[in-house]
Symmetry: C2
Subunit: 432 residues, 2 copies
């Protein structure tokens, strides 16, 4: 599989320089986008009182298994350190959070944290997913109230707003409501996990597919048909679910969402399950209307921390679908990143090099991103570099410019040139 | 070693909640500091034309061994994925950079990148060092010129400046100059690695220690004494080294540092080696004058990328000593972080709860970090929470406040209270 490539006057072997299987490099152009999203969200998180927490990249295997089950070993990067300890790379940011909260029982509650970091899953390569990726989460630990859930949702919505994403909606449900609904239709309590698992596939396999799988599982066909054909209707006329367990929470959620001015975004959908078994009540999923991408989701997981052996602490949170969010912003041209470098100050010879650096430093003092030549390139090559690097302005510093305490400023897009006094340059470039 | 702790009405086992051996959680208070440093530095990096690059947390073992040697296996987290591939967690950010550059040979040069991320080393536990820690690096790939080195130094200095760190100096040397100096004194070329390694210990073991180790290595005692006793003098009168290899680069470095206004920070020190074997020329180390902490260092590593089998690309860079930098800033009280949350809007009952959230949202729109109750706490408990969380202001919303479209604003430090109209609150809080 190795391949020798001739580059310049050298042969070298390319496969050695590939990232490890399933991982990838994030080149500057993309990394700037990721940091742009993180920065924008972080500001919002902090306005809502969430604070940053970082937990280790790997955890004791026992802990990971407590959330993911023993079988999780096949789905994670498992290893043993030199002291014989079983470890695994974290597969999400919630396990570390739960451990941290359990380890610090005297912390003020609610504990509201955000986290941004890499997680790792040993996914099947066919899935076309990366085995290393970033997650961005907000969670509130300690509050059993719907107030905490809606606060997370409002915070999430404001993040999307700040990123310029408007055309989305949030499906919400209460798993207890779905449970009561299913039982009212004749499903048996002991089978609810299977019902949930199969209904969760509605988006993927459609109504017929769900009915078929329910039948294959041995459930009564009439009940299955009754349930499936009513999911939409029930979601629309959900007032009729009054008196069912979990209904009040949905109503409270709707009330609170009005105060947060996000009620037009919420859409009750009794079929929303959100796979993971640890959810205990309210669940949410954020999707764009146009491209049908899930931008994130979450819900209540009131029993997880206790199930780890920790204190009995209710919890809720939302995880951003970062890669889809970036994909969406890309497709909709929502990234408004400034040029990474605004001005290249070019020199024409050794003498003007010092002058060029001095000019660059003046602009940097004003906060402008400036590049100078550090390669000893001739003027023509410097201009080529600036052009290829997409730097919008080049300030040329030659003998006559030095005499005039000026630079010749070239707009690389229009080609227009003008002499500009150095003292005026920083202000001028800030405005451009 | 397990210990059962009774917390509330539950018994649970505390050891399970410890982070994996050698790792630690970074709680919000500290994480905010780390992000503060990263944010401040990032702004500076970008002004100097450095762009962010992220490479994977683990690399193929061959690659890690290419930099660290086969023996590196004992010093890193080594593991095998389910496909039988030998992998290792990255031990620094340079290996990934070098691989990325080799893998993208057609990229514009210079390639200037910054990186901030975790690295892992399986250090000896006695060393009292964490096995997981952050690194923050800037590097310039492709330029053989001193301009690139000094640009990195100037960028580093501006970062320290922005962080409020003034009282530091930068030891600089050129390893080629030390080499030529040693040979001029009678050292043999084949022994230079040993000379370097032992002289590198000067800070730790002092002159006598160095002389002793040189003698133990079998080197001529007279030469050793001559070298060691002259290191300081040579450093001070370095004009006498003229004509030696590497001298011109030091001179050019001094010239350029004047333009960048950092010449008063640089201090030539011929004894500076900086351990790692891959350095090929200029080396630098940043230290504070008062606490003798190394805040970072770096230098030229012109042969590393080629030694990996990549193209022949010169390189230089600096790595921040993040944990010591934060330690220094802590000791000198240089962190000027605003309160994580500025206002807590407290409610007195269910009715005023909605009002309180509305008030909070108004302040958030103005960019203020605000918290409301999401636990259903009574007013007294809300005030206790705000006080314990160090929130400087509480805005109390009760029946009479709602009538007056106001809140009762309490300064938690002075205890002073005043009625404030909601419409005036955001502006007022921004100024406080």
């Amino acid at each position: 599989m190795k391949k020798n490539i001739r580059q310049g006057n050298q042969d070298f072997n390319m496969t050695e320089f590939q990232p490890a299987k399933g991982t990838r490099d994030i080149a500057p152009e993309e990394m700037r986008k990721l940091l742009f999203v993180f920065d924008a969200c972080r500001k919002v998180f902090e306005k809502y009182g969430f604070a940053p927490l970082e937990t280790p990249a790997f955890e004791n295997f026992e802990l990971l298994a407590a959330k993911g089950g023993e079988g999780v070993k096949d789905e994670i990067y498992f290893f043993r350190d030199k002291g014989g300890r079983d470890l695994g790379l974290r597969f999400d940011l919630t396990v570390g959070l739960a451990r941290f909260v359990a380890n610090n029982p005297n912390m003020q509650k609610p504990f509201k944290r955000y986290a941004f970091g890499k997680v790792w899953r040993y996914d099947n390569p066919q899935a076309m997913r990366w085995r290393e990726f970033y997650q961005l989460d907000i969670d509130t630990i300690g509050s059993p109230q719907v107030e905490a859930d809606v606060e997370c949702l409002a915070c999430f919505c404001e993040c999307l707003d700040k990123l310029g994403i408007k055309n989305y909606y949030i499906r919400v449900n209460n798993r207890n409501l779905l449970k009561t609904f299913l039982i009212s239709k004749g499903a048996q309590e002991k089978n609810l996990d299977d019902w949930f698992r199969i209904i969760d596939k509605l988006d993927k396999i459609g109504k017929e597919g769900v009915e078929k799988e329910l039948a294959e599982k041995g459930f009564d066909k009439k009940i299955a048909k009754d349930v499936v054909s009513n999911l939409e209707k029930v979601s629309e006329e959900f007032g009729k679910l009054k008196n069912m367990e979990g209904y009040d929470e949905i109503i409270r959620m709707m009330e609170l969402s009005k105060i947060y001015n996000i009620s037009n975004k919420l859409k009750f959908d009794i079929s929303l399950v959100r796979g993971l078994e640890y959810y205990t009540g309210l669940v949410f999923e954020v999707a764009t209307r146009d491209l049908k991408l899930s931008l994130g989701g979450g819900g209540r997981y009131d029993r997880m921390i206790k199930s780890f052996g920790g204190p009995d602490l209710p919890a809720t949170g939302i995880s951003f679908g970062l890669s889809r969010l970036i994909q969406y912003m890309d497709e909709k041209n929502l990234f408004v990143l400034p040029a990474a470098k605004k001005v290249f100050v070019a020199n024409v010879d050794e003498t003007s090099k010092s002058y060029a650096i001095g000019v660059a430093q003046k602009m940097r003092s004003a906060g402008i991103a400036v590049e100078t030549d550090s390669m000893g390139k001739k003027l023509g090559k410097q201009l080529e570099y600036a052009s290829a690097a997409g730097i919008p302005f080049v300030a040329i510093a030659g003998e006559s410019e030095i005499k005039l305490k000026s630079v010749k400023l070239r707009n690389m897009k229009t080609g227009k040139e003008e002499m500009v006094k150095i003292e005026k340059l920083p202000e001028m470039m800030k405005e451009k």
